[in-house]
């Protein structure tokens, strides 16, 4: 929209088009950032009713951003995964809305309650406004990740995604364990950032440019790697760089060997924040991996359809270990948040299968691993938010969070809506047909098979079986068991937003099933590797792609 306003003003010169093109596809981020600033300011208001509008303003901002992302189908010139940007941004905005709703009442609950009872408001006592601002900062960063066409940009966007989450974890509850989670998350995250930064440096060293994608046949990392493709293998320094970058980013997606923090941090953070961590940084990490690997391309290997062998093997090991570690460690847990944390680890492993499989022949989602990953992110977003939201909706009478399987026994009986949300989301996470998670996993399976990764797919299947052990506990507990003593002492938190988030997620898990084909096709279109753009040397006007029609979406 802004693009259409600005373009005539600057369109006189060719030079401005590149800038404008970028500004044009950044409209969702701009909208989000404006919302962020608004939220920051509103959070300082002494009027409670004004401060209470923060979630509403955030949701509206996300809605606007999502709308802009949906309508603005422009793509990055020269990007291999042309359609990934609008798809992901829309997806981020859509999943962001339940996440915002879920956050209601998370920070400084005691203080806000005290204010509600008449304590004079002191803006430096309450961090709620800032907390929402951090959330929106992080989502902005995530969207910027999806827009990245440059290593510097990608690095900054990843940091913008992560840094606010460190603060969010630390302040999410006043408890010491939140701060412990914060310090672990932050410090290990800094190490991860250093690792992928070093990787970026190596990529820059190997190619001499930080530009990931460039149109018009300009020199970029993509073209440099394409030159390597002629030799049949990526140059060693580039390989080192890509692998360091991937391993560094593994921290964000909670994959082995950077997964250690996951259970501790998810347990320590307030539950809504855990849900946030399981979606936002993870998505950012996958976006980063997809962008980097799309620059590398899946044109290596004996048949010219796989990643360069060292990268493939690394990802293979990471994927196999991640699924296995996540699932087996979850078996021993009694704490549901830790179970979900480990399951989050395992899901990253599943998704990496799609990354390894690559875009396939571009025919359909069944063989397009990248489309499968994008689709899985969508599915995972909903089912994960739903499962965490149930935990966030319940608390002990002491105000503590619920923790163990005992607490949700017979939940369907004591609280029908939340119980069913838990059952549906867990079943979907397990991949029971016909729920959304089943389709997500199905496409990962088929893409892995069509890429010839039989061993990995077998590991994936085996792990799905192992996962059944603990997911069935999450399904059977609420559904079949009688409510235990601890379950009877629970109460629902007084925040409607959380229940809405839970319900919306569970409904999505079911209601989106008829639209699986539509969504999967959209993901497939977004993740179809476009052949290198026609190398026009003088066609700077060709950079602005005509907006794609929405018919296929």
């Amino acid at each position: 929209m802004i693009q259409t306003i600005l373009t005539p003003m600057f369109a006189e010169t060719d030079a401005s088009t590149e800038m404008l093109e970028k500004l044009g596809f950044l409209t969702p981020e701009i909208a989000l950032f404006v919302t962020t600033c608004l939220v920051m300011i509103i959070g300082l208001s002494s009027s409670r009713s004004i401060r209470d509008t923060i979630p509403i303003v955030s949701v509206i901002g996300l809605g606007v951003a999502g709308f802009l992302a949906y309508t603005n189908q422009s793509t990055i010139a020269g990007a291999a995964l042309g359609g990934i940007m609008p798809f992901l941004k829309t997806l981020i905005a859509i999943v962001g809305i339940p996440l915002v709703l879920l956050m209601s009442g998370t920070v400084d609950r005691d203080y806000e309650n005290a204010v509600a009872r008449g304590l004079p408001f002191d803006s430096i006592r309450s961090n709620r406004g800032e907390f929402y601002a951090f959330l929106l900062f992080s989502l902005t960063g995530l969207m910027l990740c999806a827009s990245a066409d440059d290593l510097i940009w990608l690095f900054l966007a990843l940091e913008l995604t992560s840094l606010p989450t460190y603060v969010m974890v630390s302040i999410s509850s006043g408890k010491a364990k939140s701060q412990e989670a914060g310090i672990k998350y932050f410090f290990l995250g800094a190490v991860g950032a250093a690792i992928f930064l070093y990787g970026f440096a190596m990529i820059y060293g190997a190619t001499g440019t930080t530009v990931l994608f460039a149109g018009d046949g300009e020199y970029s990392i993509t073209t440099a790697f394409a030159a390597d493709l002629a030799d049949g293998a990526l140059s060693p320094i580039a390989t080192l760089g890509v692998i360091l970058a991937i391993i560094g980013v593994c921290f964000k997606i909670a994959a082995v060997p950077m997964h250690f923090y996951t259970p501790d941090v998810y347990e320590g953070a307030a539950t809504p924040v855990s849900a946030f961590l399981a979606f936002v940084p993870k998505t950012a990490g996958f976006v980063a991996i997809l962008l980097l690997l799309s620059a590398v391309g899946w044109g290596f290997g004996a048949e010219g359809t796989s990643l360069p062998e060292p990268i493939r093997i690394t990802l293979w090991i990471i994927a196999a270990l991640t699924m296995t570690f996540g699932n087996v460690l979850a078996l021993l847990q009694q704490n549901i948040k830790r179970v979900l944390a480990y399951s989050s680890v395992a899901h990253s492993g599943y998704m990496l299968v799609g990354v390894i499989a690559g875009p396939g022949d571009g025919g359909s989602i069944a063989s397009n691993g990248l489309g499968a990953v994008l689709f899985y992110i969508l599915c995972y977003g909903f089912m994960n938010v739903g499962a965490f939201a149930v935990l966030a909706c319940l608390e002990r009478s002491s105000g503590d969070e619920i923790e163990t399987f005992e607490d949700i026994r017979g939940l369907c009986e004591t609280n029908r809506v939340l119980g069913w949300v838990m059952v549906l989301c867990s079943a979907s996470l397990l991949g029971l047909p016909p729920l959304l998670g089943f389709w997500g996993k199905l496409y990962l399976f088929t893409s892995g098979i069509s890429a010839g990764e039989y061993a990995l797919v077998a590991i994936l299947g085996l792990n799905s079986a192992i996962a059944a052990f603990y997911y069935l506990k999450l399904i059977a507990g609420p559904l079949l068991d009688e409510p235990g003593e601890s379950a009877k002492g629970l109460r629902e938190t007084p925040y409607v937003g959380r229940v809405i988030a839970a319900t919306v997620s569970a409904v999505s898990v079911v209601a989106l099933v008829p639209f699986v084909n539509v969504l999967a096709n959209a993901a497939n279109d977004a993740a179809t590797v476009t052949p290198a753009q026609a190398q026009t040397l003088d066609g700077s006007e060709a950079k602005i792609e005509s907006p794609r029609s929405d018919d296929d979406a």
């Binding site: 600057f10 010169t13 030079a15 401005s16 590149e18 800038m19 290593l151 510097i152 690095f155 900054l156 940091e159 840094l163 460190y166 603060v167 630390s170 010491a176 364990k177 701060q179 412990e180 989670a181 914060g182 310090i183 672990k184 932050f186 410090f187 800094a190 190490v191 950032a193 250093a194 690792i195 930064l197 070093y198 970026f200 440096a201 190596m202 820059y204 060293g205 001499g208 440019t209 930080t210 300009e218 259970p263 501790d264 941090v265 347990e267 320590g268 021993l332 847990q333 830790r338």
Partner: protein, 123 residues
């Protein structure tokens, strides 16, 4: 002004002599130092207990990446690497601000900077 600057796709200081030869041995000198600093940072992060020093070690790893970026930037005769370092510094500053604030917060709570004292969440 933006429009005229945008003409300049990639300014190059060809005035400066090519400081790295074609062989790359001198480049490797810098890369070696960079890798050493990175490894020392990792070792420091693992061996130290003081949270501030641990974070210093991550700064050292960032610094190692910066050195490598500058070296590559000079080798490739463009400024992108140097610009990257500017942003690395920015991020380092931002991270430092947050990390130090967090460390102080934790210190207020437990009155210790020992990272090993924060190990209640496990398993």
């Amino acid at each position: 002004m933006i429009t005229s600057l945008a003409h300049i796709a990639e300014p190059v200081t060809t005035v400066a002599p090519d400081i790295f030869g074609d062989v790359g041995v001198s480049l490797y000198h810098y890369l070696f130092v960079s890798a050493t600093l990175f490894a020392l940072g990792v070792i420091g992060f693992l061996t130290r207990r003081n949270m501030i020093v641990m974070f210093l070690c991550t700064e050292m790893m960032f610094q190692a990446a910066g050195l490598a970026l500058i070296a590559f930037s000079k080798y490739h005769l463009n400024h992108s690497g140097e610009v990257f370092v500017i942003f690395v510094l920015t991020i380092a500053a931002a991270e430092a601000a947050l990390a130090l604030a967090l460390v102080v917060l934790l210190f207020r709570r437990r009155e210790t900077l020992n990272a090993e004292d924060w190990a209640l969440l496990r398993g």
